[in-house]
């Protein structure tokens, strides 16, 4: 009976959170046209969310690609199909690993920065001060950060995939001696526009999801040190779980 009560409470909280998040999303979208009229604010946020994440994205992309090269070569050489390494790795990176790992890294690096920044602005009355100056924080603070994240995420995904493929090539071609011509030509003939589009669509959707979670958690954080800490943690956890759920749904839809 108590378990049922807890279950009902959790379900009610979940529905309430989804409702609040949807409402918040609607309010942010409503502010988007006015935010777009101040491109300098958005460019600054693309720099914050995108350019400042470049090093971590490129480093991780390189190592994910190199590991994929090792594992892929080990698997394919068992069937004598090492030449297919380029195709296999490229498809894995473009369709899955690129968007998903970039989203997880984005949530950890840019998402937490967004949530804690907005949460601290709430805790130090900066958002209240803006409201008192008749400036809507959703338009001035939240919408540019959301848009910056949404734009940066697909760009980061493309960079991650490109560096990842370079990493695969480094291990497969340079280290294990897979024929370079076969590696690149098979990749070019097998990967079509639809595959690339799948990766781009996933990058965009994950960008919206991760950026929304980050700004929502920051904006609704309790104005205390503990509240901001919790918001930051929730940003990473919720973004990661949502990314993986959305990934399954999008893959099923786009296959």
């Amino acid at each position: 009976m108590r378990l049922l009560g807890e279950l009902t409470d959790n379900l009610r909280n979940f529905v309430a959170t989804v409702g609040a998040l949807s409402l918040f999303f609607g309010r942010v979208i409503a502010q988007t046209p006015r935010a777009l009229m101040r491109p300098t604010l958005i460019i600054a946020q693309i720099h914050n969310a995108g350019a400042l994440s470049l090093v971590i994205i490129m480093t991780c992309g390189l190592f994910v690609g190199m590991v994929l090269g090792l594992q892929g070569y080990d698997l394919l050489q068992r069937f004598g199909s090492e030449d297919a390494l380029g195709t296999a790795a490229a498809l894995a990176l473009i369709k899955e690993l690129g968007p998903v790992v970039t989203a997880l890294l984005f949530a950890g690096r840019a998402g937490t920065a967004l949530a804690s920044e907005i949460g601290l602005m709430r805790a130090t009355d900066q958002l209240s001060a803006m409201e008192m100056m008749a400036v809507d924080p959703l338009r001035r603070v939240v919408a540019p950060r959301f848009l910056g994240g949404v734009i940066a995420m697909p760009l980061l995904t493309v960079i991650f995939v490109a560096i990842g493929i370079f990493g695969v090539q480094l291990v497969g071609v340079q280290l294990f001696g897979v024929d370079a011509a076969s590696f690149w030509s098979q990749m070019r003939s097998s990967v079509d526009v639809a595959d690339v589009m799948e990766g781009v669509i996933k990058g965009c959707v994950f960008g919206v999801a991760c950026s929304l979670i980050a700004v929502y958690e920051g904006y609704t954080a309790l104005p205390t040190a503990e509240g901001v800490g919790r918001a930051t943690t929730r940003t990473v956890v919720t973004s990661a779980v949502l990314t993986l759920i959305l990934d399954y749904m999008l893959t099923a839809l786009l296959l």
Partner: protein, 279 residues
């Protein structure tokens, strides 16, 4: 004769810029205000005082429309603040300036940009004019030389003076100060007191100062309200407040450690708790 809860300081309609009528407000079942009435006279400095936790800051947030009352009305120049839509509320707030307890400066901007912020957001003034306006406001608070410092490089008193310059940037009708003296050294406190008085007199503003620094307020404010128990416990000039018969007002004005606001937080019987070993 000092006024009481049922009859706050009288002020005629034309002299009153803010009027709070029968305000009720509670948070999570805890009653903060139960029938609060007060009037803020135009062009004067009004102090709102009360023991910690009586809801002074909450009252400011209700006056500025950041919170909505459970019942009752808050009238700003005859306009019911709680009935306004967001857009109308923002239009009304351009007539108010608020100084937050910690300054609430935007930490990603320097002092100059903080003061320029409301001008850039609400006007299309040329950059040269914004520069001159900002420097004028900073000169008024004595911080023109700190224009390129960031909030993290300012002392508490300096941050509040910058916030004051920012609040004045759009020339509001009413300036609201939330605990402007908390945590300041005597020199900074003196500066803030002087600035509040100067702003009020030179610009013809109405000022509301929320604080519990009775001595500072006595030298600064024209009239005062003491809030306790969700209502106005006393209102009037400081001379009237000092002679007020209410025990809570007596305790507050004289800074007595015990009285209607007890020294001990409500607890079970001391000896019984020690003997029984209960938590």
């Amino acid at each position: 004769m000092a006024s009481t809860a049922s009859s706050p300081a009288p002020a005629s309609a034309s002299e009153t810029i803010i009027e709070v009528r029968d305000l009720h407000y509670s948070v999570n079942g805890r009653v903060i205000f139960s029938g609060l009435n007060l009037q803020i006279p135009r062009g004067r400095i009004t102090a709102v005082m009360g023991p910690s936790g009586t809801g002074k800051t909450t009252l400011l947030r209700l006056i500025t429309g950041q919170l909505r009352p459970d019942s009752g009305t808050v009238l700003f120049d005859g306009i019911d603040v709680s009935s306004l839509k967001t857009r109308e509320l923002y239009a009304l707030r351009r007539r108010m300036g608020m100084l937050f307890q910690n300054g609430a400066l935007l930490t990603d901007m320097d002092v100059f940009e903080n003061v320029a912020f409301p001008l850039r957001e609400h006007t299309n003034l040329p950059e040269s004019l914004i520069r001159n306006l900002v420097l004028t406001k900073l000169q008024a608070v004595g911080l023109r030389g700190a224009a390129r410092l960031y909030p993290s490089e300012l002392s508490g008193g300096m941050a509040r003076r910058v916030a004051l310059a920012r609040a004045m940037a759009t020339d509001p009708d009413v300036l609201i100060y939330d605990e402007p003296f908390t945590g300041l050294d005597p020199i900074s406190m003196g500066m803030i007191v002087r600035l509040v008085r100067q702003m009020n007199n030179a610009l013809g503003l109405t000022s509301i100062v929320v604080s519990h620094d009775v001595e500072e307020l006595a030298s600064l404010a024209d009239t005062g309200y003491i809030i306790a128990g969700g209502k106005v416990a006393a209102a009037g000039s400081f001379r009237e407040l000092k002679g007020h018969g209410s025990q809570i007002v007596h305790q507050f004005i004289n800074g007595l450690p015990d009285g209607p606001v007890p020294f001990h937080y409500p607890a079970p019987d001391y000896y019984e708790q020690l003997l029984t070993g209960a938590a």
